[in-house]
Symmetry: C2
Subunit: 276 residues, 2 copies
DNA sequence: CGTCGCATTGAAACTTGTCAAACATTGTGG
DNA sequence: CCACAATGTTTGACAAGTTTCAATGCGACG
């Protein structure tokens, strides 16, 4: 339909979110722990304190500014974080829950969903390892959306009041948090453009390219990945019906742009997809 | 079409933005200065330092937390703010401009617009007196959207680095800024729901009710107001063509829900409009 | 091996977009 | 102050895109 615009939108989308946030904690966090080891959620009881430190976390590069002194590092470690395990289908938090903490996805994935009494729903985002959750609650003191795990998942819990204290002491940490919140604003702007100006075909293409980039940034294949969400959830995110999502997948299959086998996705022709 | 859902969406929209932000400065700021006195922009050269203080501003209740001590007030006043006048059609900032400051609309109104090379555009928001602009720039250090004045307007300029300094010193100010950023996230979520799930008719209804509430919060009539934006800009915001916007206005006219005379709007039946 | 949830596909209906023409409003210069 | 140009708005007819409804297919899991 249009020019090199889908790719651009995809790039804009959570390029922001990717850089976005991360307060991933140590433990066994190899960069791959995120998606690969979701089975480990089974091994532990839900909710338990994590006896580890941000300073030892293998993903700390994404979680905090690079230029911390060791004294600042020590302060950061005093921020009592814990991890929490959430089973597939369970809520990390729900709209109207009291806001206490924000979260960083350490393993697994989530959807955030804004809902109406009348049943109307909008998925406002999908969060994978290394991305932030819960910033919607700062405004009113209550969460504004539900965060539902798409698979058994693990998050780092960052008590927001403590984070604010740390941010008053460490200038670069303060700016980092501001950047994360701003990234979320920019991410949502891009999504608004997607919803407001793109055709169904372009939206699905942008969605796949965006996911692809985020997986790539985590060290996974950009070409092949597994969708954790249903067609209906994708539709709810992209502002279309599940049948339309399915038709678009079929069209991409026919045009040899993407090879879909259920939830398994292989992007055959990323350039072609970007030009849709 | 649906139940009492449009009103709910309208309420969600910038109820957030309304509470949102405000760093409105003193000068002649009666609450009405915003919309009523836009002619005063003519009286002054563009860009000039404003020799006034936040602590004397008649709108400070919306700009800062209520529980400041006088010592804190003094600190706040040390934050060098100035005002800036922007003529109708001119940009307060443009995408890719270096980010230095955020802005609070003191008088007049703006649109923020995200653009693509290929000409695709999305209006991501309309800002009226008392609302914030520019938070999209924190993330990358460059603005992500254009902010264009819809009429001759005045903004307070808040240098962001200085704001961060103040926020490290005044806890309640820090939290206030976080709330403002979070409000923007929540506002955009609501807009995503509007774009993703509502019919053209419902979107226009929600848009009018939302504007109505914001004017009311500023002390103006909730029933009668003047649109500063064109049908095309409304369409670009709501994800539809200008002809569709026009048809919806005509439909509301026919159904005796709204009385439109060009850009002059009178909401005749707000309850009916909310039930569209 | 049957069931249940999810996915695909087709045909018809509906909503919105596109194109075109007429009309209204605003601003400008004579 | 008027005429005219430019811009914005309304309306209609038709086309395109998306949803709706319905049927079928597929695959994981007990």
């Amino acid at each position: 339909m249009s020019t090199a615009t889908v790719q651009e939108a995809a790039a804009a989308l959570p390029v922001a979110a990717r850089k976005a946030v991360h307060f991933i904690r140590a433990i066994d966090a190899t960069p791959c722990a995120g998606v690969a080891r979701q089975a480990s959620a089974e091994e532990r009881p839900s909710k338990r304190p994590a006896p580890v430190r941000c300073s030892g976390c293998s993903m700390r590069a994404v979680c905090m500014p690079a230029d911390l002194t060791s004294a600042e590092f020590a302060k950061l470690d005093s921020m009592i974080c814990s991890t929490r395990h959430v089973r597939r289908g369970d809520a990390l938090y729900r709209a109207r829950d009291e806001f206490q903490s924000i979260y960083a996805v350490r393993a697994g994935s989530f959807k955030t969903i804004v809902m109406h009494r009348d049943g109307r729903e909008q998925v406002t985002g999908f969060q994978i390892a290394g991305e932030a959750l819960g910033l919607d609650g700062v405004c009113t003191g209550h969460h504004n959306a539900d965060a539902i795990a798409l698979e058994d998942s693990v998050v780092c819990v960052i008590p927001f009041a403590q984070l604010e204290t740390v941010c008053r002491e460490i200038r670069s940490m303060q700016h980092h948090v501001h950047q994360i919140m701003s990234s979320e604003i920019v991410r949502e702007s891009s999504l608004m453009m997607l919803l407001g100006t793109m055709s169904a075909e372009q939206r699905v293409a942008a969605f796949l390219l965006n996911l692809s980039q985020r997986f790539k940034a985590l060290g996974y294949s950009a070409a092949e990945f597994h969708l954790r969400m249903t067609r209906e959830e994708i539709g709810c995110y992209l502002g279309m019906k599940l049948e339309t999502v399915s038709r678009m997948f079929s069209r991409f299959q026919r045009d040899k742009l993407v090879d879909t086998r259920g939830k398994q996705i292989r992007i055959v022709d990323p350039e072609g997809l970007a030009l849709v």
